[in-house]
Amino acid sequence: MIIVEQKPLEEILGYLKPYKKVLVVGCDGCTQPPRSLREAKSMAMQVEMGSKLEKKDITAKATTLVKQCCKDSVAGLGEMLEGVEAIVSMACGAGVQTLAEAFHPLPVFPAQNTMFIGSAEHNQGDLVEKCQACGDCLLGYTGGICPVALCAKGLMNGPCGGCYQGKCEVTKEVTDDQGNVTTIQNDCAWFMIYERLRDQGRLDLFKTYRPMRDARVSSSPRSIKWA
């Protein structure tokens, strides 16, 4: 899943200052938390109410697309765009850019920040990064645990000296909706890899020296030929 986080409403209203008719477009694709029709309608409502508080009168419609990052899919927006002066996209950065290109010169604004590729840890209700799309997948050698995304330093040859009792030296502060701040100490990715491979009787993989990576495969902007 592509994990997204909504931008502050003030920022979105800031984008929309010059416009009166807006279309909010959700995406049924891979965004998490979901950003489909329901969320697009909610965003449209927030935009309308927010603009009223600023003594403006924006009219916001809502719709959604199967995949905002797919050019064929976005063509379906056609009729909805009549009279629209600006689009607010609820997709990841790829979706925003696809709409911006497809409907130029209509301005397209992101309703959220695209955070990372991750999954939901249901025990904690957290969305956690799992993949950096590095272009050189190592999961076959590391017991299915990614050191690129899960090691704070992206190390290739085992844990650093900051790993103690399976925990990473790096902590991060997470603020919830109520403003409560919790300090989280991550699990050490290389310690998890060690345990996984040990339990699978594959510690030989943990002992293998991994040479320097070729940074070109993960250097932006990337593209591949498909079919």
Binding site: G154, L155, G158, G161, Q165, V170, T171, R210, P211
Partner: protein, 313 residues
Amino acid sequence: METKAFSNLMKAIMDGKFVYTGELEPHKTADITDVVEWATTLKNTGKIVAANVTDNPQSMASISSLAASYVIQRDSGLEVVYQLRCSDRSRMALFSDLLGASMLGLRNVLSLTGDHPATGDAPQSKPVFDLDSAQLVELVHNMVYEKKDYAGNEIHGPDIQLNVGGVANPGLDPVEPEVIKVARKAHAGADFIQTQVIFEVEAALNFLDMLAEYTDVPVLMGIFPPRSYGQASFFDKFVTGVTVPKDLLDTFKKFKEIEDKAKRKEKVDEYNITYFVDFIKEIRKKKNSAGCHIMAVGYPDVIAPIITGAEGK
């Protein structure tokens, strides 16, 4: 491939001597007068073969360790171990700094992963980690023995003269992943290993034994004679992988009650000397134990007595 010794440190290790290194920590300033003075003090003990010059320790940006290493070695006459972290430089920057180090006459480089910038005093910095510490060892090794850069391009002119060390944290729990990681550094070409501070002799001996199953790389065990209960307790609580024995903590706590400062210091010195002389005597029995890295910044009084005691002279 036979190891070449370029530094006095490496020559002494290869001659089978039990060596002692010290630690120098330049700060967030463009002045290193005090560090040169400390280096001179270490040199004047006549017992320290080389001293490490830290590179942005605890991820707090300080004066360049390359510049500081050069000036310290030039002005104090003490050989340095130039520390180099992967946290802050890409392989290109690491490589060019290493060429510079060899040109400036630095002969030891110590490869470190480096603390994450998020743990330092300016956490906004971008963490680099283009290489890890084992890969940095390999980079140096290839510069010296293949005369190549990281992409296989030839290095022109004089040979690169650098002995490369790696680091270890023998007090980690569990220690096996760390032992395997150190073995990878040895595989990548580390000439020697210096360790994080360790107090518990059993853990130090266990680490040496476990490592010997993988490699015969020589190890310099890190020790830290604390000057006070506060220092000892700080290491115990806050330094990853460092456990200070309860006996030591309890004794130092009692020392706090001695009101006469001179007498208190005398007791502390006496305890440290006995403790670390015994410690060194034990660890040097191991074949892969090549020396001790004494991190006694600002506490010169105990260095010579510890070494003299451990040497049995």
